[in-house]
C-alpha cells in the first residue's frame, strides 16, 4: 500500500505547482519591478521607493501575525479592528507621551489577542468565528473611545512617521526588525516548532504532549500585538487618529499577502520570506495601477486575480 512510488502520479506537474506556490510570489514581484522600470515614469527614484516601503510596512507587520495564525491552521480576522483600536488609544493616551501611547496600544492588541486566543484554545470556537466577533466588536469599541477623526500632533509621532535612520524610514526599520523576530521565532524556538506541528496535525501534537492551548493563545496574542504596532505606525504616518477607516479591509490584504507568499491555509507551514514578498507584491500592484491612472476598483480586480493565481498554484498541495 504505502509504497514509495504511490505519491508520484504526475511528478512534473506536482513539482511545478509546489515550486510556484513557494516561489511564484518572487517571480511576480520581479515581473512587476521590471514592468515599472520599463513603463512607469520616475519609478527608479529614491523618493518613490521610500513611499512604497513606508506604505507597505503596516501591511507587512499585520501579515506577519496573520502568517502565524494561518500556520496554526487558524486565521485572525480582527487585525483591522485592532489597528482601529490602536489609533483610538493613541488619541487617548498621547497626552502622557508617545511611549505611554505605544504601551497602551500594544497592551490593547494583546488584550484582544487574549480574548481571541482564549476563545480558540480554551472554549474551542473556530478561529474564523472567534476573530470575526472581535473584528466587529473591536472597531465598535474603538469608535466608542474616539467617535470621530482627531488630529495627532506630537513631534515624536511625526518623527516616527516621517523620519529615517541612514535614509531608511523608521516604519520600514521596525517592520524589518519584526520580520527578523518572527522569522527567528518560527525557525529557532520551541514555540515555532510546536506551532507548525499543531497546525499540521492537532491530534498528533496533542498526543505528543505539546502545550497546544498555550501555543494557540500565544499565536493570537502575537497577532494582536503586531496589528497594534501596525496601527500605531499608521497613525504616526497619517498624523491623525481615524478609527472609522484605519485598518479597514486590512485583514484581507494580510491574508492575501500570506497566501500569495506560499503559506498554505491548511496550516503546518509559515513562510516569512514569502509573506514579505506577498506584501510587497500587493503594494507594487496597487502602485502600478495607480501610476497608470487606473481607477482604484481596478486594484481590487487585480488583487483578486493574484489571489486566484495563488490558489491555483496551491491547488495540488492540499492537506494530506
Amino acid at each position: 500500500m504505502a509504497e514509495a512510488v504511490a505519491g508520484r502520479i504526475a511528478p512534473d506537474r506536482a513539482a511545478v505547482h509546489s515550486w510556484l506556490q513557494a516561489y511564484g510570489v518572487y517571480v511576480g514581484v520581479g515581473v512587476l519591478l521590471l514592468f515599472n522600470v520599463a513603463f512607469t515614469d520616475h519609478f527608479l527614484s529614491a523618493e518613490n521607493f521610500r513611499t512604497q516601503a513606508v506604505q507597505v510596512a503596516p501591511i507587512l507587520i499585520v501579515a506577519l501575525g496573520m502568517a502565524l495564525a494561518i500556520g496554526s491552521e487558524g486565521i485572525d480576522l480582527s487585525v483591522g479592528s485592532v489597528m482601529a483600536l490602536s489609533t483610538s488609544l493613541v488619541a487617548l493616551y498621547l497626552g502622557y507621551g508617545p511611549w505611554v501611547a505605544l504601551l497602551a496600544t500594544v497592551l490593547g492588541g494583546i488584550a484582544i489577542g487574549l480574548v481571541n486566543g482564549s476563545l480558540v484554545a480554551f472554549v474551542g470556537v473556530q478561529p474564523i468565528v472567534a476573530t470575526l466577533a472581535l473584528m466587529v466588536g473591536g472597531r465598535g469599541l474603538a469608535l466608542v473611545l474616539v467617535p470621530q477623526l482627531e488630529d495627532v500632533r506630537d513631534p515624536g509621532m511625526r518623527a516616527l512617521g516621517s523620519g529615517d535612520l541612514l535614509g531608511v524610514p523608521y516604519p520600514v526599520l521596525i517592520a524589518l526588525a519584526l520580520v527578523l523576530l518572527v522569522g527567528f521565532a518560527v525557525r529557532r524556538t520551541t514555540f515555532g516548532r510546536q506551532l507548525l506541528a499543531i497546525g499540521d496535525s492537532r491530534p498528533a501534537a496533542r498526543l505528543a504532549g505539546l502545550p497546544v492551548r498555550r501555543v494557540l493563545l500565544c499565536v493570537y496574542v502575537a497577532s494582536g500585538a503586531l496589528a497594534a504596532v501596525a496601527g500605531f505606525l499608521a497613525t504616526a504616518r497619517l498624523q491623525a487618529s481615524d478609527p472609522t477607516s484605519l485598518g479597514s479591509l486590512m485583514e484581507l490584504s494580510a491574508i492575501t499577502a500570506v497566501v500569495v507568499g506560499g503559506t498554505p491555509l491548511s496550516g503546518g507551514r509559515v513562510r516569512v520570506g514569502g509573506t514579505v514578498a506577498g506584501a510587497v507584491l500587493i503594494q507594487l500592484l496597487t502602485a502600478t495601477l495607480i501610476k497608470h491612472d487606473l481607477p482604484p476598483s481596478w486594484t481590487q480586480i487585480a488583487q483578486a486575480a493574484v489571489i486566484v493565481l495563488a490558489v491555483y498554484a496551491a491547488r495540488e498541495r492540499g492537506k494530506r
Binding site: 504505502a2 511528478p11 524556538t189 520551541t190
Partner: protein, 542 residues
C-alpha cells in the same frame, strides 16, 4: 506461470514493466487470475503490489508489456474504463459517500426510477436489502453509510462492486480495519463471489487470512514475480521466506515473529500502577500493573476498551475515576504532556492522524515530544536535535532519503519507526504500544518486535495491544484480558497461549451472546456497528 492458455484467465498481465523516477516498480511481471479463483498477491512494502493493482485497474499505464482481459490485450487509460470492463477495486479506505444512505450508495448513479424520472426509494430499499442479504449482511439500508462500522461499509462497497457486474474484484488489504467477526463475514462474501465465477485478487499482510480464503498466491519482491502457484501445500515459512528473500532455516530458527523468550521481571516492583480506571461508557474500573522489563499484553476484541485503557493511562482521554502512578508518583489526568513527563509514552493506534505530523520532516517528528528538553530559554538547539535524530535513525534503521524528508512521504513501516523514535527519545519508563505492527510490512514488523524485546530487556515496562494473536502471545509475558471495558482475566506463565486467550476473550459469549454490543443497539446491523473503536476515539479530538 506465463498465460499458456490466455482464454483461461479473467485478467492477466504479460511482461508488465512500470518505471518511476529512480525506481523500477514493476519488472516484467506476469500475473493472471482465473474466474472462480481467489488469488493472493503478497509482498513486502515496495515489492510492487500497489503499482500492479493500479496498472490492473487503469490508474497507471504500463511502460512495457500488456494487460489482457478475457484473452485480448486491453488498455484502460482511466479507472472508469477498467470498471466498465468489469474490474472493480475495493480499497482500504472505503470510497463511498458517507452522508448518503446505504441504499443510495449501493445504487449510486443507477438508481431505480419511477414515474417522472424520480428515484423510486421503495424499490431501491427493497433491492438494497436483498442485495446485502445475498452476502450475509444485515444492515438497515436507510441509514447513512457513515453511521455503519468500517466493516459494514466495506461490505456495502463490495456488494456495490459486485452488483455492477464485476467479473474481477481487486481487494487491497480489505481487513486492515475489521474485527475478527467481520473478517469472517467478508470471507463468506468472497467465497460466494468465487462460487459465482468472479475472479478475486486479494492483497493482505496477514498470512492467516491468505490460508483461510485464497486458492493461489503470487509473491512479488522488488518488482518481480518470485513465485506463483497454489497456496495449498505451500508452507507458511516458505511463503515468508519468499517474501523476505531469506532462507527457510533462518526464518524457522527465529520463529515468524521476532519476539524472544520471557523476561525476568516477576520479582521487581511494578513501575506502572493503574487502579480503577473509568471513562464514561467506555471503561469501568480497569486495574493492572506493569513491572520494569515486562511486556504485558492487553487482549480483547475491538471495542473492548483496550485503546481507551492506554489512552486513559497516557492522559489522552480524561478519566472519570481511578488513578495512575508511575514508580509511585501519581500521574494527573487529561494531560498527555504530564504523562510524558512522568515517563509514560503512548504509540497511538492511528498512526496517520494521531501519530505522524506529515508535513514536518523526519527530524522534527522525532524531536517533537522532547523539544523543551532540547532547548534552552525557548531556543532550540539544532546540534542536540541532530545528535538525537542520528542516534535513533541508526538504531531503528529508519529509511529516509535524509532526516529532512517529510515524514508523510515515508512508508508505513518507517513512519512507525519514526514514532517509536519520538517516544524513545522521551526516555519513558513505560511504553504503551497500541497496534505497533498494524499495516506495516513484514520486515519492519520483525524489526519492531525485536526492538520491543530489547527495550523490555533494558528494563522498560511495555504494555502491548495487538489484534494479531500470535504477536500478542509471543510478545507478552502476561496478558490482561478486557471485555466491555473491564478486566475479565489475566493469563500468566504457561497460560499465555492462543487457546487460553481466545477462551478468555470469548468467555462471556456463552452467558451473553451480544456482549460487545451496547444494550441500546439492536442487532440489526451486526457488523462492526457496535464497536467502531477508531471512529469513537477520533471524536474527542475533533
Amino acid at each position: 506461470m506465463p498465460p499458456t492458455r490466455p482464454g483461461a484467465y479473467a485478467l492477466s498481465t504479460r511482461g508488465l514493466t512500470k518505471r518511476f523516477p529512480g525506481v523500477l516498480a514493476l519488472d516484467r511481471v506476469d500475473f493472471g487470475v482465473r474466474p472462480g479463483e481467489v488469488h493472493a498477491l503478497i509482498g513486502e512494502n515496495g515489492a510492487g503490489k500497489s503499482t500492479l493493482i493500479k496498472v490492473l485497474t487503469g490508474v497507471y499505464a504500463p511502460d512495457e508489456g500488456e494487460v489482457l482481459r478475457g484473452g485480448g490485450p486491453v488498455s484502460f487509460g482511466t479507472p472508469l474504463a477498467a470498471q466498465r470492463a468489469g474490474i472493480s477495486t475495493i480499497y482500504q479506505e472505503v470510497n463511498l459517500v458517507p452522508l448518503m444512505s446505504v441504499a443510495r450508495n449501493l445504487f449510486l448513479g443507477r438508481e431505480p426510477r419511477g414515474r417522472l424520472g424520480l428515484i423510486d426509494f421503495g424499490r431501491m430499499h427493497r433491492d438494497g436489502e436483498r442485495l446485502l442479504s445475498d452476502y450475509g449482511v444485515r444492515a438497515d439500508v436507510r441509514r447513512r453509510l457513515g453511521e455503519l462500522g468500517v466493516g459494514a461499509q466495506q461490505m456495502v462497497a463490495l456488494a456495490r462492486a459486485v452488483s455492477v457486474d464485476a467479473r474481477v474484484v481487486v481487494m487491497d488489504e480489505p481487513t486492515s480495519s475489521l474485527e475478527p467477526r467481520e473478517v469472517e463475514t467478508l470471507f463468506g462474501v468472497i467465497r460466494r463471489l468465487r462460487d459465482r465465477g468472479v475472479a478475486v485478487v486479494y492483497v493482505s499482510h496477514r498470512l492467516d487470512e491468505l490460508y483461510a480464503v485464497c486458492d493461489t498466491v503470487t509473491v512479488l519482491r522488488d518488482g518481480r514475480t518470485v513465485h506463483t502457484g497454489p497456496l495449498e501445500g505451500l508452507e507458511r515459512l516458505r511463503l515468508v521466506s519468499l517474501m523476505l528473500g531469506r532462507e527457510i532455516g533462518e526464518v524457522r530458527a527465529e520463529g515468524t515473529t521476532k519476539f524472544g523468550g520471557d523476561h525476568e521481571a516477576a520479582s521487581a516492583e511494578p513501575v506502572l500502577h493503574a487502579e480503577g480506571l473509568s471513562v464514561p461508557h467506555q471503561l469501568h474500573g480497569v486495574s493492572f500493573t506493569v513491572r520494569p522489563g515486562e511486556v504485558v499484553g492487553l487482549g480483547g476484541l475491538l471495542g473492548s476498551g483496550r485503546t481507551e485503557t492506554v489512552k486513559a493511562v497516557a492522559g489522552a482521554v480524561p478519566r472519570s475515576a481511578g488513578r495512575v502512578t508511575v514508580a509511585g508518583a501519581p500521574v494527573r489526568t487529561g494531560s498527555p504532556g504530564a504523562a510524558i513527563r512522568a515517563g509514560v509514552s503512548l504509540l497511538p493506534e492511528d498512526r496517520k492522524s494521531e501519530g505522524i505530523v506529515p508535513g514536518l520532516s523526519v527530524r522534527e517528528n522525532i524531536a517533537l515530544a522532547v523539544l523543551p528538553r532540547l532547548s534552552r530559554a525557548g531556543l532550540v538547539s539544532e546540534a542536540r536535535i541532530d545528535s538525537l535524530v542520528r542516534t535513533f535513525m541508526e538504531r531503528l534503521r529508519i529509511k529516509a532519503s535524509s532526516p529532512h524528508q517529510k515524514a508523510g512521504e515515508l512508508s508505513g513501516g518507517n513512519q512507525q519507526k519514526v514514532l517509536l523514535a519520538r517516544w524513545l527519545a522521551a526516555e519513558p519508563r513505560v511504553l504503551l504500544l497500541d497496534e505497533p505492527t498494524r499495516g506495516i510490512d513484514v520486515g519492519a514488523k520483525a524489526e519492531v518486535q525485536k526492538l520491543v524485546d530489547e527495550l523490555a530487556a533494558e528494563g522498560l515496562g511495555v504494555l502491548l495491544i495487538s489484534s494479531d494473536l500470535e504477536e500478542l502471545i509471543e510478545g507478552s509475558d502476561r496478558v490482561v484480558v478486557l471485555r466491555d471495558g473491564a478486566v475479565v482475566d489475566e493469563l500468566t506463565g504457561d497460560d499465555v497461549t492462543e487457546d487460553r486467550l481466545m477462551e478468555a476473550i470469548a468467555g462471556a459469549a456463552e452467558e451473553e451472546p451480544h456482549s460487545e454490543a451496547p444494550a441500546e443497539t439492536p442487532a440489526a446491523v451486526p457488523m462492526g456497528d457496535s464497536a467502531p473503536g477508531s471512529a469513537r476515539e477520533g471524536a474527542p479530538h475533533g
